[in-house]
């Protein structure tokens, strides 16, 4: 009996460690795919810790889709947009939401969210560019979703 308890303890510890490794790989890929740079360690730690309290909900198929996105190095932003346009609360969307909340509550990213310098023209160009950029990402996302059969 004691041995069984011991084994169970080991398994739980192992599974927690494995889950942390998985989450670490997951967020490193999501962040890199979205922002084309490596995720700062502090943000990664917070993201992993957030998963101790917040468990994104979804079907097995949806979680498999996230694994597939990472395995095949797919464009996260494009696929997320395709999921969101379908009105789905896909776990990928929930995970990206967690990341963005954590980024917004990190002063390193303050400039990304708050416009400190008024500039009408720069803003208009940004809006036009991002409208086109979104159209491209949406088409790409729909193709990836179909091509890789992402649920």
């Amino acid at each position: 009996m004691e041995n069984l308890c011991f084994m169970r303890e080991i398994n739980e510890k192992e599974s927690a460690a494995l889950s942390k490794i998985y989450l670490s790989d997951e967020i490193s890929y999501l962040y890199h795919s979205l922002f084309k740079s490596s995720i700062p360690e502090a943000l990664k730690t917070k993201y992993i810790r957030a998963h101790e309290f917040i468990i994104p909900s979804g079907t097995d198929e949806q979680f498999k889709a996230i694994k597939k996105i990472i395995t095949f190095n797919l464009d996260v932003e494009a696929v997320e947009l395709a999921f969101r346009k379908k009105g789905s609360q896909h776990p990928l969307l929930q995970k990206i939401k967690i990341l963005i909340y954590l980024m917004e509550c990190d002063s390193k990213y303050h400039h990304l969210f708050i416009n400190e310098k008024a500039s009408f023209l720069r803003a208009i160009f940004a809006l036009l560019y991002h409208s086109l950029y979104t159209s491209y990402k949406l088409i790409k996302g729909k193709i990836l979703k179909w091509r890789y059969n992402l649920a």
Binding site: L34, F35, R49, A50, F53, I54, P56, S57, G58, E77, A78, E80, L81, R84, Q89, P91, L93, Q94, I96, K97, I98, I100, Y101, L102, E104, C105, D106, S107, H110, L112, F113, I114, N115, E116, K117, A118, S119, F120, L121, R122, A123, I124, A126, L127, H130, S131, Y133, T134, K137, L138
Partner: protein, 526 residues
């Protein structure tokens, strides 16, 4: 024995207690309070610059504000970690099941009003259609409350809808966007009036000047992150004053589950939430003020009725974002108050008045709305940075009517079940979008949001007041429950109809009117 036991410390319970001063009153409440009521003191934009230091207040030590990340829209007023106390315990003390209604019960000291926008409006005779009382019955209590609370507002195009301006404090400062909209509306007033659209200043329980030892609004944009701000009136303000003046015996930590009338008194059974032990309290009169859903639960439980379907009403809401093109790329306004202007629409697209409030989006995290925007993630971040200072959001409130399909029932496990049929909306939104182009405010119907029923928090109508009540779950004009001699309902439960105007001020005035009558009856009995 107490003269009166009041259950609940929300707007109605506190207003009734205020009017019953001088009698022996016991207020029983679960009474949850925020862990750090005034943790944030700086301006929200300064806090954002050193966000790590304030992580516990913005996201939460245990990531509390993210725990409904998979559940769609949740009001930012109850999402923030320091605001979670408002709805904390809803699972521990009994849950609400529903596929079509996102209902909330509050076990907080001050009730759901801790998350209110403090919009306080007098009901006219037209608004009170179906009530067995008239506006003149409530008028003295509205006046008394106006003095007690300190309400700001002004005499403008909305006065015909909002009534007397007696005793109002000056209105709050408008932000640049709000001032621009108001100025353009004023120039095109005739056009808008022809279209049955009227705009003016809201009536808010927010201090625009120092008042009764409370400090005026400092425009620090903290309103979505903590409710205990000196300039914001909540029922807790009056509750604390009554406790300090020893005019009330306040008993927090008790959940009332049942009551019965026996031998000329009311016996109230309450559970101590720490020990789980049942305790009994006695009084000559009982006032139920646990909020519409809380009161429904207590009354149905007292009657052991698991069959009854009590009617339920809630103001459905929608959001329309309007863009001012020339403000794109400007810096966000550091010092502002989020509520700017109010709108009333009286045209043919709705049977009754539709009310709206314009908000600027300065006091919330962008992440709260990023995923409601139509672009890719990175694009939404950039567009929100440049676009949000140019956006003013119109929040529309619709009137509610009693419908067979909208009801609340109690099941045998002690939980509430709610059924609510959402109504198709969009006509008024499209109409307003079309006419606001005239003054340079743009939107498209595709961007309008329609949160699930229940998100309005304006629950009412489960035990309506009638001139001649007929049935176990109706009350007379003094909130006396049919068949009872001592149990009065004073919260939103006794509203027979629900106009689009925020109901809180009328709940408070009506609770005072009923409490006044109870005081008279107690004096006569003595």
């Amino acid at each position: 024995m107490h003269d009166v036991i009041i259950i609940g410390s929300g707007p109605s319970g506190v207003a009734a207690a205020y009017k019953l001063q001088g009698r022996k009153i016991l207020l029983i409440d679960v009474g949850q309070t925020p862990k750090q009521p005034d943790a944030l003191t700086e301006n929200f934009f300064d806090i954002r610059k050193k966000a790590e230091l304030h992580f516990d207040c913005l996201i939460g030590r245990n990531f509390e504000s993210l725990d409904s990340i998979d559940k769609g829209y949740l009001s930012p007023k109850i999402k923030a970690p320091l605001q979670r106390f408002v709805i904390a315990g809803d699972k521990r003390f009994g849950s609400i099941s529903s596929e079509t209604f996102r209902g909330f019960m509050s076990y907080a000291q001050g009730g759901l009003a801790n998350a209110w926008g403090a919009q306080l409006y007098r009901f006219s005779d037209h608004d009170l259609k179906g009530f067995p009382i008239s506006a003149s019955d409530l008028e003295p209590y509205y006046d008394e409350l106006t003095k007690l609370i300190g309400i700001c507002g002004q005499d403008d195009d909305l006065t015909p809808f909002y009534g007397s301006t007696k005793g109002l404090l000056p209105p709050l400062q408008l932000s640049t966007l709000g001032a621009d909209l108001f100025q353009k509306y004023t120039k095109q007033k005739k056009y808008f009036h022809r279209k049955k659209i009227y705009i003016g200043r809201p009536r808010l329980g927010i201090l625009s000047i120092d008042y009764c030892s409370r400090k005026k609004c400092d425009y620090s944009n903290l309103d979505f992150f903590q409710s205990q701000l000196p300039y914001l009136y909540t029922p807790s303000v009056t509750l604390h004053e009554l406790i300090a003046q020893k005019k009330l015996n306040y008993k927090p930590g008790y959940l009332v589950e049942n009551y019965k009338e026996l031998n000329g008194k009311v016996i109230v059974e309450a559970k101590n939430i720490d020990t789980g032990r049942q305790e009994v309290f006695e009084s000559k009169k009982l006032i139920l003020a646990a909020g519409t859903l809380g009161t429904a639960k207590i009354v149905l439980n007292a009657n052991e009725d698991f069959q009854a379907k009590l009617p339920l009403m809630d103001n459905l809401l929608s959001y329309i974002p309007f863009l001012n093109f020339f403000r794109i790329g400007s810096r966000p306004e550091k010092n502002s108050y989020y509520t700017q202007l109010n709108l009333c629409y009286t045209g043919n697209l709705s049977d009754e008045l539709v009310m709206g409030t314009f908000y600027v989006i300065t006091g919330i995290l962008h992440s709260d709305i990023l995923f409601d925007m139509p672009l890719a993630v990175k694009s939404n971040i950039i567009v929100s940075r440049y676009g949000l200072p140019a956006i003013i959001v119109l929040n529309l409130w619709y009137p509610a009517k009693k419908r067979e399909t909208n009801y609340v029932a109690l099941n045998r496990s002690g939980n509430l079940h709610i059924n609510y049929t959402p109504e198709a909306k969009g006509d008024v939104e499209r109409y307003l979008i079309k006419h606001f182009i005239k003054i340079g405010y743009f939107s498209i119907p595709f961007l309008c949001k329609y949160p699930m029923p229940g998100n309005g928090f304006h629950y009412a109508g489960t035990m309506p007041m009638r001139l001649k009540p007929n049935g176990k779950y109706e009350t007379d004009s003094y909130g006396l429950l049919y068949g009872s001699k001592r149990v009065h309902v004073v919260d939103g439960s006794n509203f027979p109809s629900l106009p689009a105007k925020n109901l809180s001020f009328t709940i408070m005035a009506n609770a005072m009117r009923i409490a006044d009558n109870i005081k008279r009856e107690l004096a006569e009995d003595a």
